[in-house]
Point group: C2
Chain length 589, copies 2
């Protein structure tokens, strides 16, 4: 090694030793007779002192050092003394008095400094990713990601799960998101597809008797990207045989407990809370509730159906709902201007035609529409909402679905705005008993809520004929901080049930064969009861790091246009390459 | 869980307990009053006994069980007694006396039995991979692979390496093997490429200060496949900063020691032996020698240059070499017919015009050409070769390169034929000091022996002008059992040296920029000295398993035509998908 120690390990006990360090020149300060350089590597920063009275050759070299030069320094560790020590650095008790210096590599002046919060624009940072990745914040993110995956691997290894690699070059299954395709050279005119998930393979592994499988698997979706999506992403993928829903849930409870212990040294109480899908829709308006704060949705339909306020009355009369939130201490925070503009627009994005609101004052309601409610009605509303003077009450009067969607968005918005939670907190819960199917009115059919392989709740077989919307799937999501952090189900293991589901979804046998043929085939040869789940690793790293930028947790991320700005991908390729693949470019005019 | 124990864990101490097992009906035997079923899962086999006098309902069900049905059985564990116990099974002391039976899933009659050595042809087995993967041999292979990767991960984690994921969708670098391409939908007419290795990314990570990186990385090459290659394969990829060659070698020595300990419980003596490239070429004729046996190449040029045998004499006179092998006890094994046909043809494939041979008898040579050598010459040859009566001496008289290639192949052939080694033995060694470049006579230029980023041996700078063939690279291969099991180098870390290498390789600046632009850019901003290595995981699993079929160590392998026969990939895709990607199929007539 070109060093005998790292820049993060020197302490007071090392004083008097001679060591060699290597690293990058992070900061440079010339204090007359002494030049100080902060030497940086992945492990920390050590202060180097070059004293003028010492070796003049070294001195000369040192004076030429610039930011980000790579240097090797040998010298004696000396104490910085009480007055000069730097408590912010783990190595802050000491400094290295340089006696030898070698410049291992010079650096051009970097386009931005890889220190602290970067002020450079993200495009430049992505283009010079090798500079940006030197920032402490990003290095910590990569270390965190490593620790998390190692924690996951140890957990599953100890439980007897096998890490089995599934193919990246698979078969296109044209549904849901778009596949990325790979033209085959050998079989002209045909294509591989990159997997959107290893779903079919992990089920096949259960049929093949592997019993407990996990993989940290790369997945691909050719979607128009939202801010928190990447074209390639990573999931912790799990499947188990001879299990029931409870076994999967408790296995994942254990995984999270382990990760929280390994990463934060904290105890995560388990089992995690469980809610039914119907319950979270009622209380939070979404199947991905952020549980770091309360402020649940409250239904006042019954209190206002006979009121003098036409909007409320008519909504309830027409089968809709009047639901709202009680924003504790929100009366002062939210002016009429914000309510009538920003917040009204926000709920409008989710289809709500308006936003009604009151302030709680003197135990009653205060607003321009308060006059439409008599004293009893006002008291009942305040009581139902748990309102106190100074609180803000906001309502959406609309269909159940619109009130859910709009109030869920409003709840998240207000909570963030009012800082109702600690961004570092992890608040996880299970949502179970999802509906098996949802109505696709446009195409007049039933769509699978998750995918067509979810098993059916044993009590709900009767609804196949009478009302498929009532069929509950044996599927479950883990929600954390308002995100779907994991999703899974018990799978169908017999071909007859699978056929019944395809019939319900209007997938004809030919289409089923084309899309899932090899899985259907496998189910006919002794498939065990099995189930599984997948956790989005990128999202989990973000949550542990309290980051809201997915590009911060991936070493080489792509932009929202799916470009890698550093390497310049995608790019134009040689005609010869296309000829070899029997394809040509065909851009419509 | 649907079971309370697995099929591999019941022992004599469990007698008297009631347990529930789940698994596949492996074997079925009706012994009049008792039906025996071997119940199988990943963990083992447990014998189940259904006695006729017990529950008749269960009895009736049991009689309908067929191979590969999935069943759940509850019953009492009873001792099989000394006379009936099966020492071949870990559970062989006991059986489960079934009181309840549930058929969880029926199986169609499988196309072949997933037991023992499969006699079915490989195409059928790949098509029904979910059946074939039930075979014990394949399950053991997947468990081995899991254990090996876990061992690798623990080793590197403990040493402070970070597991960092690099992109699968990258940029095409048209050289060497063909890239698999992925058309971009967003950027019409452009393509991503699947990585042939994470080489550039891992170097970038060093530039970014990550210091120690590893990844078990999927790599892709669109080659016409040889028997032991797959279009997607996995490598253990490693890079370190501030290191010298010695540090990489000792890190990998430690890795192998750890793996051998974890997997086989044995101590692998380290440091592993090291040979120079020149040395192994001289002694084994190849840079991938199989060191499980001796039988080195021996040069007798000096002994025969004045002999009466024209072929030898002229070869040496023209600057060629006469080299050969001493096959211990081979005189009887190899008849003149085999020598003149099979073995002569084998060396002929590597360009050798003939194969000369003698048997050692009475301390001298015995063959049709022995008469051309006088007694002293014969004695000198026998002595040089270490020959004893009954040995076979075989020679190729040709250029140095042809004698290397042909004798290396012959050496491997004979060793396998004569069973000179234990297939399970692991015999590893380092080959160092590879030449930096090799002459490409056809195109009149120098090609990189490994890749253009290898650093140069510090003593060899002078040869850039005088004789580039003499430049040694700081590159190293780990050879094991005749395979290149790992390959790596210290990298160039400064842009000037990199430019010098590009000049030597005749890569002009524009081409360099196009192919490696982002790495060259990164070297200008403070790249540390660094180096690394990559180990082929599939190959390592094969070596630990003593398997010679790469498809046995990959859960879902592809054929030599790069097809996945189970899922039917590659396949035809929708026209809509191609339109979305702005490509069309263009098969030449």
């Amino acid at each position: 090694m070109l060093r005998t120690a790292t820049c993060g390990e020197l302490r007071a006990d090392h004083v008097g030793q001679t060591v060699t360090l290597c690293g990058w020149a992070d900061k440079y300060r010339d204090h007359g007779g002494v030049v100080f350089i902060d030497l940086r590597d992945r492990y920390g920063i050590t202060q180097i002192a070059f004293r003028m009275e010492e070796s003049s050759e070294t001195q000369k070299l040192a004076s030429g050092i610039r930011h980000e030069d790579v240097i090797q320094i040998t010298g004696e560790i000396v104490s910085r003394g009480d007055e000069n020590k730097n408590p912010k650095l783990s190595t802050g008790d000491v400094e290295l008095r340089a006696s030898e210096l070698k410049i291992l590599n010079k650096s051009k002046t970097p386009p931005f400094e890889p220190r602290g919060e970067s002020l450079a624009n993200e495009e430049l940072r992505l283009q010079y990713r090798f500079i940006d990745l030197r920032r402490n914040a990003l290095q910590e993110m990569m270390v965190l990601r490593h620790k998390m995956t190692q924690s996951v691997r140890n957990y599953f290894d100890e439980l007897g799960f096998l890490d089995i690699e599934t193919p990246i070059m698979g078969r296109s299954s044209p549904e849901g998101a778009r596949d990325y395709l790979v033209p085959s050279r050998v079989h002209e005119g045909t294509f591989y597809a990159l997997p959107q998930s290893p779903q079919l393979f992990k089920q096949i592994l259960m049929v093949a008797g592997y019993d407990r499988y996990y993989q940290i698997a790369r997945c691909f979706r050719d979607e128009d990207l939202r801010a928190d999506r990447q074209p390639e992403f990573t999931q912790i993928d799990i499947e188990m045989s001879f299990v029931e829903q409870e076994d999967i849930l408790s296995t994942i409870d254990g995984l999270l407990k382990r990760m929280v212990k390994d990463i934060r040294g904290e105890n995560l109480p388990t089992p995690l809370p469980r809610y039914t899908h119907a319950d979270v829709m009622e209380r939070y308006g979404t199947d991905k509730p952020d549980l770091r704060f309360g402020m649940e949705l409250i239904d006042i339909s019954d209190l206002v159906e006979a009121s003098g306020f036409g909007v409320f009355k008519n909504t309830v009369g027409n089968g809709g709902k009047v639901r709202g939130l009680c924003v504790k201490g929100g009366a002062e925070k939210y002016s009429r201007r914000i309510l009538d503009n920003d917040l009204k627009n926000l709920v409008g994005e989710y289809g709500a035609k308006g936003l009604a609101y009151f302030k709680v004052a003197n135990g009653g309601l205060d607003s321009s529409i308060a006059k439409f409610f008599n004293e009893d009605e006002q008291a009942a509303i305040v009581e139902r909402m748990g309102g106190e003077d100074g609180d803000l009450l906001v309502y959406v009067a609309d269909s159940y679905d619109v009130s859910c969607a709009s109030l869920a968005a409003l709840r998240n918005h207000i909570a963030k705005d009012m800082e109702l939670y600690d961004p570092k907190e992890l608040s996880c819960a299970w949502v179970v008993e999802f509906p098996l199917v949802t109505r696709n009115e446009e195409e007049d059919r039933w769509d699978a809520e998750h995918h067509p392989f979810c098993a059916v709740h044993p009590d709900d077989a009767e609804y196949f004929e009478s009302d498929p919307s009532k069929i509950r799937a044996l599927s479950y999501d883990l929600v954390c901080n308002g995100y779907e952090a994991a999703s899974g189900s018990i799978r169908i293991h017999d071909p007859e049930t699978q056929q019944k589901i395809f019939d319900l979804l209007n997938i004809d046998p030919e289409e089923a064969e084309l899309r899932f043929g090899f899985l259907l085939q496998a189910l006919r040869y002794g498939a065990p009861p099995h189930g599984g789940i997948a956790l989005g690793l990128d999202r989990w790293v973000m949550m542990f790091a309290a980051s809201d930028n997915i590009r911060d947790v991936i070493a080489f991320p792509k932009t929202q246009k799916a470009s890698d700005l550093m390497m310049g991908a995608p790019s134009i390729v040689d005609d010869r390459q296309l000829r070899d693949l029997s394809i040509k470019i065909d851009i419509p005019e």
